[in-house]
């Protein structure tokens, strides 16, 4: 495993703006808060940044508030002098943008890459509630034409169908799935930046209004405003910086099944199956070595599915694995979503998990810090037909 490019990539700084349900601030201002925070955290200045990577960049036809700033916006606002820059939606989930940054530093195109993800879906949606994908377009085209005409206008609907199939094949129950939400809410109570911090009971969860069976309201993450940034540095340029660099041990980017929401070969696993297997093929570390897991819960079932894909339990056993919540608590064998996840801490869209993985490895979680000096963390993001993951370690 000596020839993997990840050896030359480190994370050296993180930053995050204010996060809120509806901040009504200029989304570029939030983005710059996060970016400048990460640059300073690494002990750098904007003049040191020579690479820029974001997901998704300026994307057309996406829901309101889906992207708060493109690469060009940040490039110009900070007057960056870049050797390499990139953005795009068609990559291995939201963290695909971070993987590309790792490749850029490893192959010598850049020394310090600023990576960011910015959302303002809370303010953009305003009082109208969560809009359907495609609302307002005159006709459904491209891949969306296979779902939108059937009023399947949200990932909630698509992913609910994967959950239903998992329930059918493996006997998974709502009472088990609840623990993704309940455990996240317990952790969010200890995170001052989380959006929902009030205690949630199993009855609260089960009695929430139905969205798309088997999902109720608390299976769906909360749209918010906020930006998150990380600095990816070339290993040989990371040693003298402010922090002890976090090693990128391995990335998982594979998508071997069809890149489709309804034609993928296994409706219970989806793309996380391939990304997770790819990650473990690139490291000697094993799932048992992971001290903390920050895993995408845009919808509760995605986290359960990722736990199985990453090999923390067998496929089909995710329900039993999380049941009762003890195993995934801060003091459990696999602390999960220690900031509250997107369900309670807000839909920062993938980057929130990577940020929290770094917080935990640097021991800066405060009241929510995982005990025992965690040294290995996994950050995984995406669901359905696009997924990516990173394994990080501290020396």
């Amino acid at each position: 495993m000596t020839d993997r490019f990840e050896r030359d990539a480190c994370i050296t700084g993180i930053g995050q703006s204010d996060v809120g349900r509806r901040l009504h601030r200029d989304p570029l201002a939030l983005t710059l808060d996060a970016c400048l925070g990460a640059i300073a955290d690494a002990g750098l200045t904007p003049a040191d940044v020579d690479g820029l990577s974001t997901y998704p960049g300026l994307a057309m036809g996406m829901p309101a508030g889906f992207t708060g700033a493109g690469a060009t916006d940040v490039h110009d606002a900070l007057r960056l002098r870049l050797a390499w820059y990139d953005s795009g939606l068609e990559t291995s989930g939201q963290l695909g943008s971070v993987v590309k940054a790792c490749m850029a530093v490893a192959c010598g195109l850049a020394n310090h890459v600023l990576c960011f993800r910015s959302v303002w879906e809370g303010s953009a949606q305003g009082r109208q509630g969560r809009a359907g994908i495609g609302a307002g377009v005159p006709k459904a085209s491209g891949t969306m034409q296979w779902t939108l005409p059937f009023s399947a206008a949200s990932a909630a609907v698509w992913i609910a169908m994967f959950a239903q199939r998992h329930f059918h094949e493996y006997g998974t129950t709502r009472e088990q799935l609840a623990w993704i939400a309940l455990s996240g809410r317990r952790h969010a109570a200890l995170n001052p930046k989380a959006i929902y911090r009030d205690p949630m009971t199993l009855d609260d969860y089960l009695n929430a209004r139905p969205i798309a069976t088997p999902f109720g309201l608390y299976d769906c993450d909360v749209p918010c405003d906020g930006a998150t940034a990380v600095i990816v540095s070339r290993r040989e340029r990371a040693a003298d910086l402010r922090r002890s660099p976090l090693q990128v041990e391995a990335v998982g980017t594979a998508l071997r099944g069809r890149p489709s929401w309804d034609q993928f070969d296994d409706l219970t696993t989806m793309a996380n199956r391939d990304a997770a297997a790819h990650l473990w093929s690139r490291t000697d570390l094993r799932p048992a070595d992971v001290d903390v897991a920050e895993i995408y819960d845009g919808f509760s079932f995605l986290a359960l599915s990722w736990l199985e894909a990453l090999g923390f339990c067998e496929v089909g056993e995710g329900g039993a694995f999380i049941d009762g919540g003890a195993r995934i608590a801060l003091d459990g064998e696999l602390p999960l979503n220690t900031h509250g996840g997107q369900l309670s801490a807000g839909r920062l869209h993938g980057y929130g998990f990577l940020h929290e993985a770094c917080v935990q490895l640097w021991g800066e979680g405060g009241a929510r810090q995982v005990p025992g000096d965690p040294r290995v963390a996994v950050a995984a993001a995406g669901g359905g037909n696009t997924c990516g993951c990173l394994l990080l370690s501290r020396a």
């Binding site: 969560r130 809009a131 359907g132 994908i133 495609g134 609302a135 377009v137 006709k139 459904a140 085209s141 891949t143 034409q145 296979w146 779902t147 939108l148 005409p149 059937f150 009023s151 399947a152 206008a153 949200s154 909630a156 609907v157 698509w158 609910a160 169908m161 994967f162 239903q164 199939r165 059918h168 209004r209 139905p210 969205i211 798309a212 069976t213 088997p214 999902f215 929401w261 309804d262 034609q263 070969d265 409706l267």
Partner: protein, 149 residues
């Protein structure tokens, strides 16, 4: 009847009729579900594509299928994402009888939402929409009374 007027035909965000997909969305006007099929290896290709993904052949033709299918999974949707059918409605992924690897995301109609099951046999029924850009027949599915019990 105009879409969105009256109870029978709900508002739908209609598909754009392209060179590649027009036949899929209009074959229902002749009462048939048609899929693109490779003339060389006989594989049904969905979504439609200019070449067979298995042997890259360009000899593909629209071929009628029986319209019979099986519910692979479904959800009872309670949330109004945009104007659409009366709530709740069923969104399903069905596998077509001739080649189960071809799946269609669709709605199951003609029965109560609580009666839909994974594994349930269904058959196609078309929902006709008139439109200035060209009429569209959406393939929906209903319980198949002729399926073996």
């Amino acid at each position: 009847m105009q879409p969105g007027v009256g109870a029978a035909v709900p508002f739908r965000l209609l598909p754009e009729l392209s060179v590649r997909t027009r036949r899929f969305w209009t074959a229902g006007g002749e009462g048939r579900l048609e899929l693109l099929r490779c003339l060389r290896c006989s594989t049904y290709v969905h979504p439609p594509a200019p070449r067979c993904p298995h042997d890259q052949a360009t000899e593909l033709a629209w071929s009628p299928v029986s319209g019979r299918a099986t519910v692979a999974t479904f959800t009872v949707n309670h949330q109004a994402w945009m104007p659409g059918p009366a709530l709740p409605y069923v969104v399903a992924i069905v596998e077509i009888a001739e080649q189960p690897s071809v799946r269609l995301t669709t709605n199951v109609v003609g029965c109560a939402p609580e009666d839909v099951r994974i594994g349930m046999p269904v058959r196609v029924v078309f929902e006709h929409h008139t439109d200035a850009d060209g009429d569209v027949w959406l393939p929906l599915f209903e319980p198949d009374p002729e399926a073996a019990a």
